[in-house]
């Protein structure tokens, strides 16, 4: 049998400013994840949102097995993208644009941990001072959310299989 302790600890960290239009995509994503904390996921999942990534996030992520950063992007992608992040030293450094790869690098260097790290980017379009998402961004967000929900189930399910294989061996 699988136990709660053997399943991966997952951190979802979304960042952005909900006062700047679609920059709030990450924050809305976190609100959509909130109901999971009332289910069995609560034992595996921690969610966090912030305005921007910063150095101390390296410390936080060191306590997890899987970390997913969620951010709005103005890159020309269709709706969303999901990619694995590798640690990378940034130069020049600005706290204004601390990248997930840089935070992961710090995590490895300072705390000797390398959680599996992913970046979920959701395409946004409007960045002015307003609250609420544009229609197109909201559509992208729902697509990203459905994708991610499946991904999360896979991770946990993967652990089931892994555990089962172990038990059968």
């Amino acid at each position: 049998m699988n136990t709660l302790e053997q399943k991966p600890k997952v951190l979802i960290h979304a960042y952005g400013n909900p006062g700047r239009g679609d920059d709030g995509l990450g924050n809305t994503f976190i609100q959509m994840c909130q109901p999971w904390l009332s289910t069995e996921y609560v034992h595996h999942l921690t969610i966090e949102n912030s305005y921007q990534l910063n150095v101390e996030d390296a410390y936080t992520m060191s306590e997890f097995d899987i970390v997913v950063f969620v951010d709005a992007t103005n890159e020309l992608i269709e709706d969303f993208s999901f990619s694995k992040i590798e640690p990378k030293s940034q130069s020049p450094f600005t706290t204004h644009a601390m990248f997930p790869s840089g935070v992961l690098y710090l995590c490895g260097e300072l705390y000797g941990k390398q959680p599996q790290t992913y970046l979920l980017q959701v395409r946004g379009y409007e960045w002015e001072m307003l609250e609420g998402l544009s229609e197109r961004a909201e559509r992208n967000l729902w697509k990203a959310f459905h994708f991610f929900r499946t991904k999360l189930e896979e991770w946990i399910e993967f652990e089931h299989h892994h555990e089962d294989e172990h038990e059968h061996s």
Partner: protein, 475 residues
Amino acid sequence: MSSVITISPVTRIEGHAKITIHLNAKGEVEDARFHVNEFRGFEKFCEGRLLWEMPGLTSRICGICPASHLVTSAKAGDDILAIGIPETAEKLRRLLVLAQWIQSHALSFFHLSSPDFLLGFEADPAIRNIFGLLKHDKEFARRGIRLRKFGQQIIEFLGGRRIHTPWAVAGGVRESFTMEEREKILAWYPEVLETALMALETIKQIHGQFTKEISCFGNFHSLFVGMVGSKGEMEYYGGNLRIMDSAGNIIADNIDPREYYHHFGEASESWSYLKFPYYKPLGYPKGIYRVGPLARLNICDSIETPLAEQERKMFKDLTPTTEAVNNSFYFHYARLIELLFAVERVEQLLCDPAILGTHVRSKAEINKLEGVGASEAPRGTLFHHYWVNEDGVLQKVNMLIATAQNNMAMNRTVRQIAMQFVEGKKIPEPVLNRIEAGIRCFDPCLSCSTHALGQMPLEVLLYNEQGQLLERRVR
């Protein structure tokens, strides 16, 4: 032929800015300017919103010091409700402001400025950053992160969320502090005190290595402005305004911050969106003044915590007479004294039984149509000024932000450093970095409140007087 060299954006500060250096035909620095390209318009955005929404709304101005905007906005709300807030609420708000100081000052020193000090201005820019720092001294970087985390943790305990928390409200705060939270923070205290003291020792040791920089990093006469308590002690939440000149004379004292607009005006320049506040009796630009750690250390007569008070006395000894410490390089030293004060004061507040009180909010209706809130944000005095109608709907908003109040001083600093170090039309990288470092003394926060991945290269442009691009450097 004259030339303009542009450094854009400045790295390791929050937000977007650029520096242009104007050379004359001989290649000598004629002028240098610090430009801010981001137009905020946040005040307009707030019009039509309800007073009770303002703390949460204005805390979104900035990802670096949201708690300062939160508290200042709540204080403006107190003024409009015309009520006093419960003792516990005031102490909790004070705790929040101190936590903001700790995390902001820790970031400024450990991760933004110390790479220059510990690795040197001459070091390869590829390593002169947090990543290079952790190769140099991993434990130092780790301690800086823990210290910042300490401040963040207090903010999280108080607000429930790390940023944009609407925890402080007009009339007090929404929730009280628990015994368990208090114990967790107190258990952390010895470590952060040790780190704060270590940081102070570090800065004092490096002063001797940077005598040339110290002499010209914003070393000029100006006024200093900030809040002090009723006995002249360092204040960060309440108190009245004091204005000191560079000779150390107090030229105005006991000014109610709610009347700030009688004393400070705001000038504009066509080349920057950031306003240029000045002291009205002296006019613009003579009324140049500085706010923030250097100003607060200069104007106060004492600090209420023992270790920080000892350091304050050493700080005062930087000048042989009673004159103010005029050199902006010492912002860093002053910032670390404040960091120590904040750590000590957090412990004092947590040991005060009133901090666990449960009566945390007073309620009232709109009793005035205009209100001002002020507090000492990490970078200096912050004012929120609101006008509402009888229903509490915002009619007009004015915010006087600390970074803007240092705008004239930052420009003067850039010019002074450029004149000292720039020779000819080729500017070596370490010289560029010194100019940026001059700006970083003020730890300006120009947060544009939005971000997109991959948009912060450092670009250096060299133009001749016809506007032709002579050289472009990006790092």
